[in-house]
Amino acid sequence: MNQHSILVVDDELLIRDLLYDFFTDQGWDISIAESGEKALEILRSKKIDLVLTDLKMPNMDGLMLTSEVRESYPDIPVVIMTGYPSVDSAVSALRQKVSDYIIKPFNINELYKVVEEKIKETQG
């Protein structure tokens, strides 16, 4: 089993716990952050294959985090999750070349497929 390393960023504890438990069960290496700022700290300290981030967060939102990741780690794919989807945020996110825009509530198995596929695409 490939041990992919992903960073989950969400200000909601419930979502962080859910994703941590699910991906850990798949044998993946999961890092979690409750904010964009914390996520950037983690990115500076360890190798991450993909960032899975919530869109709406206080201070640094998912789009701002995506912009920082694109700037400093252009090869790391970013997948946005949101419970507040809008055309404007979808267009903004996809223009920033996020790998996907997932609407909450999501089917976790479908999310898993998306995340795995994006990592494989990046790693060739």
Binding site: V87, A90, L94, R95, Y101
Partner: protein, 165 residues
């Protein structure tokens, strides 16, 4: 600023007044714009006219823009397709990007935004062409590099050449 050589762009828009406005604007900023109002002509005209960027309405003669997008990318994956939508739905926007649309623009079109998007689309098209060329010729490049490298001595000079001057 005038471009050295006009680059061609297709406008596939069923409403003649919108098509004409877009054509006039794009030509004003230096592109050569070709309008197409028949769904069956889009791929043919794009290929014949060597257009790198296509602007297509989300619904043209009852054909979905995403179907046209599939056809265009199947014949030339370097083409950048910009889809115009009038009834913005998140699912549609996300679906269009997932299928490979370069961008989605909401009507009424903001011409300043369109200028910036078309500019980026042509840059991306050029990048796509280079990437496609390199990928297609990767084996040839590797072979050439191997041959050249084998022909060098320990000092980096071509074996048999008189490089000590």
């Amino acid at each position: 600023m005038a471009r050295e050589k006009p680059v061609r762009i297709i406008i596939a828009e069923p409403d003649p007044s919108i098509a004409d406005t877009l054509k006039e604007f794009l030509e004003h900023i230096g592109y050569e714009a070709i309008t197409v109002d028949r769904r069956d002509d889009i791929v043919r005209v794009t290929v014949e006219q060597k257009c790198g960027v296509v602007i297509v309405d989300h619904l043209l003669n009852s054909a979905k823009a995403t179907e046209i997008l599939d056809e265009l990318l199947a014949v030339d994956s370097t083409i950048c397709v910009i889809i115009l939508i009038s009834c913005p739905l998140v699912e549609y926007v996300v679906g269009a990007f997932r299928k490979g649309a370069f961008d989605v623009v909401i009507k009424p079109v903001d011409l300043f935004e369109l200028d910036e998007i078309v500019h980026r689309a042509f840059e991306q098209h050029e990048t796509n062409k280079v990437r496609q060329f390199v990928t297609a010729n990767l084996e040839d490049f590797r072979e050439l590099m191997d041959r050249r490298t084998k022909g060098l001595d320990a000092h980096g000079n071509l074996v048999g050449s008189n490089s000590d001057k």
